[in-house]
Symmetry: D2
Subunit: 412 residues, 4 copies
């Protein structure tokens, strides 16, 4: 059995150092300026300054080989294991811009993995290549407004064959990144079979050009008041959208299979970025506690602040180790064995990061609620993680069923 | 000793019924439309439709005698005790518009109480009368960006005598309502004495016309992305703002005395509105749990949802009773005895309301994060309550000191 | 609608004062001595000194009219409402001996209520009279080792008619007080009908003399190492125990009806005693925090101790108010309406009392674990309350179902 | 930097398998019988059957080389690292007898480490040899009844030089194992210098024969009603106890140095055993949930039981990884760097184990409170861990100070 090495490998160490340095010295200092920029005429465009910041950083990252780091087992990646990449994802979580600068941002990273694993050569040439080069962006369309998508068998966007094409009708929402003017591709889960097919063979995954006629952006969904323009979480309506049949991924009825494969690494990436956010929040909390005074003492010396800090440190260390263990399970290649581990971190990492962020808000006082610190924005991003890719309750159910199975005499 | 009657009195019952009915039938149905309206040219103006909605509802409320209900012991009020008003405040918490419709909204209600109790006849004629009539709005300027305002002795806006006037210099922020074009009055805490004066006699309270030359609106503070335009939480800069000396309330050095008197009832109102928000969230959560299905069962039947609902109900009932008890203590007239009770609810009510609201968000799934339900907005409003009028930690400290005093042989 | 007066009535106040005084001056000082006494030869006997302590205190209590205070609506009681008695029960919770001294201890109080309400004159003469006089003790036999008694329809002790008698066979455990040599009566839930009868009409309640042939004490159940000798929680085996048919209460198939009526007040009493235990623990915690020093400061000034104290105070006040509200609902006479309130306190009061007791243990350090303070014993007594008369989960389920019913279109 | 391998090494795997097998097949099945045995005449003796069980198992363990496994860096140990031993300690936590069977039980293991590291050859010959052979047992006397021992500088047992001897006077309590008739050695922390010496140089560590004249066993301390006879937690009084000066360890004033060195590994062992107890409790909980029915369904399918199981699994995995990381830090040899990690697990491991054990008690219903399962006893053992070797609050303080130091400009 391979050693359970959860630390940084020798191979990783210089990459990690270069990434930390670039985030600290070049990327993070531009986060605020980038976020404060808004195109007054159209929130769903980038300003010239935003483009300049982003493309400049991307060029420098790519020059240094800090590019597509998330891709394991692929010549375009950096040859890292999931454990190794997890250490990098944590650092990227500390800056708004960092994930995209390193071409490691969701949902593009997951879409690239899908295309790399399941795409035909033609599909890869048309979509994967420009994604790997950071030339286009993409969205992943799963959730629908009218069904409880936590049970993904409910997904119902209609997809019918019409000659050499498919015709799509229905609505999708929470299409993250679909507001981005560079978004060229939607990876779409659709329903292709009726009740006659087995429950997990009724859905398919299609590649849909974002500019296909019949796709209408209904509106931008807000998250606690943030619309994340111009990136966005869009509500889309599909009316007789026509897609060539060759845009199908893998085959009809294989949507679940692809979705399952796609979600595992993505959840680990999200969770490790959440750990990074938790670290950032704790760092800010401690600095604030040492910088302010009330009742004649530093905040750090007052009341339960020692206990708050210690509890945060204890929970962060545990969550990081759990994420790394899940990544290690993923690296071993047995998806079924890794599944409960991924469910465990999916529940735990966002929770601890939310808690520490909330404690930091409280330490900052009213300023913590505002646009003056990244805390409030970070909190809302983390809050979505308790729902995205499956709500907590569904993941806890998975963990419990795996646990009970060890003891059960009969099927649960 | 008077009976500790925490229920509704016979006198209250018809008023309560009328208020519930008006909120349900006339006010709440307009909340969404009002909030969705934005003056495209200037977020800090009301649109004609907003004015129409608000003034129409205010007229009807006043006609029915549902007006200035918060005022205890005052001819303009409805003759209610704090306990009685608490029951009404809970209902008002369920609608965005309701508090203002009944002329019971913060910070105006607190400012009216201050003017009613401490204002000179001239001050009352100029400011209290139009506030009681709902003709103008006001702000309360306490918190400052550069000091830990949780320890209010830190407050430092400069206020120096210059002939018959005072000259004010400094910055205030989180001036709630100061963005409202109808805001005509700032009630301002300033520093009028140096280290030579006792710690709690160094500050004074001044009435400052909102259109005084030298007051600049620096920007609107956001709360998790919401700017609450056109009401707003403004950051203001005062540069040589000149105010006639007769605008002083009560006397120099009496700022703390006024602030203490002001905050008690206001905290109870906030907390009872928070209970109303919690009830609204639980109501929405239950309806959703009965309306949606996953894994072949109603959400209400799945996992820990029964336990979530029961825990919410248990905590809400307790928090309501604690608020009512605090109100009853307030009605008995002994501010010192009531103080720890008010600190207790100030800690507890926002927390339970936040928790239930968060559970409701989770039950709604991604929709709960968005503008489609009042939950996310309600959550951010409640989150500010854990900081406004004193952060949790300061109130817990007060409660603990009161507790320890019973046992201590010497001063703590 | 009657006023919701949750405070002490004028009638109650002198009784409360007398009871507090007697507990403080006469009863509590003897708790430790009583508990430390053990009959070396037989743990299931009282020593002469134990009898002397107990009977002496009982006489003095009865002389003062502090006797059978729990009995509402009965000439032998003190004419108190449930709310009024709740205030007294809280005080009794602070002393080990107090409940029995005032003839208000469980399970006798519940059994007396059952006999008073449902007993025939003959049954009352034989059992109720000596119980009211404190001459005998009794047990309540419900739970059985082989079934999940949280669902009471599972109860299965066999009871068959044999001429003028019933014959009982089976096992009962957790028969609290059945070890007491003075225990003369078992009130026993038995199964008298088969599947043909409706689910809640299959059980009956029987009065069984404790010295009936065929009853064997298998062993004493321990609670975290305490056997509570000589009172005890006994495991009993019934082998062909013969009981005259006139010992049946109310009628065959009416066991559930009686059990429901019996449990309501008993749960309130338990919960109010739990509040008293919480107050006692917080009192001890504060004294300790002021008496000990570490790292150069009083424990009270260290770390989160202020927050611990404040949280305890906040939770205790809320739990007390909730208990009083439940008692008030009970006094209004609508058992169905009161039921969810009783479930709410049944969940909440033991939890808060356990938490505060545990915090007090921690403040005392290792001593808190030991026989040197009442804390560890109190904790184990409270821990049983989370299971006795229904585990938390069952009560939360009841609360949730009541909540959902308000919204449901169809039966749950 | 060495790889952070937290899994089992190839070297460990067969040892682990043998140990698991011996516990499962030979040791655990005898736990109940051993615990139920009591010498009726004298609780502080072993019965012949107890001796037979214990010595038989010890012989077989030693034959298999499963002996003194805890000793790292010592020829008598098994050559394991702390990480490797941690995996074994977890398994030992699942059986009452296991730690002693493998000669790995506290406080002997800690005392052996002290003697191995700091003992003179003569001291080792007299005490270490028989301890390594399992011929004698020992106690560690630190805590005192009259001072807050959480701040160990308070320790005050008097120790004065008298010719070639030391004279000891004072009291110690919570001397775990001092009731054991085989206990031959007390390792005792005493005060040898006054205020003139630096705070951490005032204490010394002495080896005191347990049968020294002047040592009186005052009583056995109980832990929630358990006296753990004949092992015991004893309260001892020292009156003019005379000890030869050569029994001093390391030198006068070096008591703190020894205590610090002693506690690190011991805390890890305790915590890993706690993880084992948590696993055992979760295992029992799951089996019970699958075996019982209520309301027509298996308990496992009811209410929040899935969530309880999932939360337990998530917390256990995290706590185990944190313990292993702390063990890995310890193996790296930098005690200062390892210290906050040991504080972290010291806080976390007992808490999670207590929580899961308590959930298991609740799942078992009243039986869980009793002597019928190991749960109640296990809970009380775990509860002491939140106080032994430093209460939670002290450890959180250490963690927080380490965290703040990274950011502080000046000493904290």
């Amino acid at each position: 059995m391979p050693a359970m090495n959860l630390g940084m490998s020798d191979r990783l160490r210089p990459i990690h150092a270069a990434l930390v340095e670039m985030i600290r010295d070049e990327i993070a200092p531009l986060d605020d300026e980038f976020l404060a920029e808004v195109d007054k005429g159209n929130r769903w465009r980038f300003t010239p300054r935003q483009r300049e910041i982003l493309e400049g950083l991307k060029s420098r990252a790519r020059e240094r080989g800090l590019w597509n780091l998330f891709l394991t087992d692929h010549p375009e990646g950096a040859g890292l294991s999931t454990v190794e990449y997890a250490w990098l994802a944590e650092e990227m979580g500390k800056s708004h811009l960092a994930p995209e600068v390193f071409n490691c941002n969701a949902p593009d990273s997951g879409n690239m993995e899908v295309l790399a694993r399941y795409g035909s050569p033609a599909q890869q040439a048309r979509w994967l290549r420009p994604l790997l080069d950071g030339k286009i962006r993409s969205a992943y369309l799963m959730t629908e407004p009218d069904v409880a998508s936590s049970d993904a068998t409910n997904i119902s966007m209609s997809c019918t064959r019409d000659g050499d094409d498919y015709l799509l009708n229905g609505e999708k929402w929470w299409a993250t990144g679909a507001g981005d003017p560079r978004c060229a591709l939607h990876v779409v889960m659709v329903r292709t079979a009726g009740e006659e097919a087995p429950k997990h063979r009724r859905h398919s995954m299609l590649l849909v050009p974002a500019d296909s006629p019949g796709i209408e952006i209904v509106r931008a969904m807000e998250v606690y008041g943030h619309d994340d323009a111009p990136h966005g979480h869009m509500h889309l309506r599909f009316t007789d959208v026509r897609v060539p049949a060759e845009n199908l991924l893998l085959g009809e009825g294989r949507g679940f299979e692809i979705a399952q494969g796609r979600l595992g690494p993505g959840r680990i990436h999200h969770c490790m970025r959440a750990i990074g956010m938790a670290e950032k929040a704790l760092d800010m909390l401690c600095r604030r506690a040492l910088a302010r005074e009330a009742f004649g003492r530093k905040l750090a010396q007052l009341g339960e602040n020692h206990d708050i800090i210690a509890r945060a440190r204890i929970r962060i260390e545990q969550a990081r180790l759990l994420c790394l263990k899940a990544a290690w399970m993923m690296d071993r290649g047995d998806a079924r064995a890794a599944a409960p581990w991924i469910s465990m971190i999916k529940v735990e990492a966002p929770r601890i990061a939310l808690e520490v962020t909330d404690q930091a808000v409280q330490m900052f006082g009213a300023q913590g609620l505002s646009q003056d610190t990244p805390l409030a924005r970070q909190w809302t991003a983390l809050r979505t993680l308790r729902l995205a890719d499956g709500p907590d309750a569904v993941h806890r159910r998975q963990v419990a069923r795996a646990e009970l199975k060890r003891h059960a005499q009969e099927p649960l």
